[in-house]
Amino acid sequence: MPSRLMASIITLVAVLTFSSVAFAQATRPQQSSAPTGQTLAVPRHDLSGMWDAMGAGVHPLGFSHLRPAFTPLGEKMFRANKPGRGITEVPVALTNDPLDSCDPAGFPRSNLFELRAVQILQTSNQVLLLYEYQRVWRVIWTDGRELPKDPDPTLYGYSVGKWVDDTTFVVQTVGMDERTWLDNSGDPHSGDLRVEERFQRVDHDTLKLTVTIDDPTVYTKPWAAGDPVALKLQPPNREIKEMFCVPTEMEEYKRLMANPAAGR
């Protein structure tokens, strides 16, 4: 009898052991970080991976409450913008936000509004950013080329980047189309805008992004758009979902919701 009891106990323990392992394997997401107690080294010159700002990159209120004083032209440009959020917000039916027509957010708004999941890929001469919001990508050249002197304006500009130390990648971007807004509160920019992004991998699983705006035509001095946003490394099997603005569905939204709410 004791031996049968012992056998039952051994069997039970074995079943529980293997079932718990199987359960853990089936349910535990793949971890991006080291097992508890270990610290993974920060890789040199490597931003690749799936990152997520974990809600900290949405910035619905924009940065109008943080920016420096406008130049006279900047003030005029800001007053012409009718944002749906921020210190001068209007009802959605009355905005002239490009996003309310489902126009592209452009850069740097892609970093300063709805920065959610972003996948970063590196090749021998480029860093590529694949954004969840609006499902757009950017190319950052790393082959040592200079920024263009007189670029044709584009929605996402022209970017070059370089490593300034083992873990800090700095990007300069010019040539942004001034029809895009900087942020969700309608802060404008001119064609003279130059943006610096500083990606600093502060540890294996954290990438801090600082965005600095330099547009002397619109702002009286350069300024950082808020505190750095911490992007967290995601498991490699994390998928980027679609997050679009569909023009026909936006029109239906306006017809059924925004216009009635504005008395139209």
């Binding site: 949405v58 209120l61 749906g84 919701m257 009635p260 709410a261």
Partner: protein, 143 residues
């Protein structure tokens, strides 16, 4: 039937406290964010659409007149993370919707939560109790 301050709103707000803050890119200027109504109605259409999903439903008022309501939530990506789906509703479903109504009285609103016939609660979007006056300047108390 309209019932103000429906108790399930407390549940909705509680659930929102544990969700990642996600806001639409436009604000609240056209909607009350310190008022809410709860409506019992029948679904006429559920639009799983970008940038905003819409729930259309009919409500019979005190005089027996049918009022066509529309209420919004956020995009499918965000709502899927909150447990909503393209087949969350079908024509004819009985629902109880708590929303922030338009200030001008139009039968439209921003969804706080929807209670299904089986009691399941679907949490909509940020609303009263989750917004500070700074976040909500259009609805700050008048001086």
């Amino acid at each position: 039937m309209v019932t103000k301050r429906f108790p399930s709103v407390a549940l909705a707000v509680g659930l929102l406290m544990f969700s990642v803050p996600l806001w639409a890119h436009h604000g609240f200027a056209a909607f009350y964010t310190t008022e809410r109504v709860t409506l019992k109605g029948t679904v006429t259409e559920w639009k799983w659409a970008s940038p905003h999903c819409l729930l259309l439903f009919d409500v019979k008022d005190d005089k027996g007149t049918i009022v066509h309501w529309a209420t919004e939530v956020e995009n499918p990506n965000t709502m899927a993370n909150r447990g909503w789906a393209r087949n969350s509703f079908k024509f004819g479903d009985e629902v109880t919707v708590t929303l922030e109504p338009a200030k001008n009285g139009a039968p439209v609103g921003r969804t706080l939560n929807v209670v299904l016939a089986d009691g399941q609660v679907l949490v909509g979007q940020s609303g009263p109790g989750t917004l500070s006056p700074t976040e909500n300047p259009s609805d700050a108390p008048k001086q």
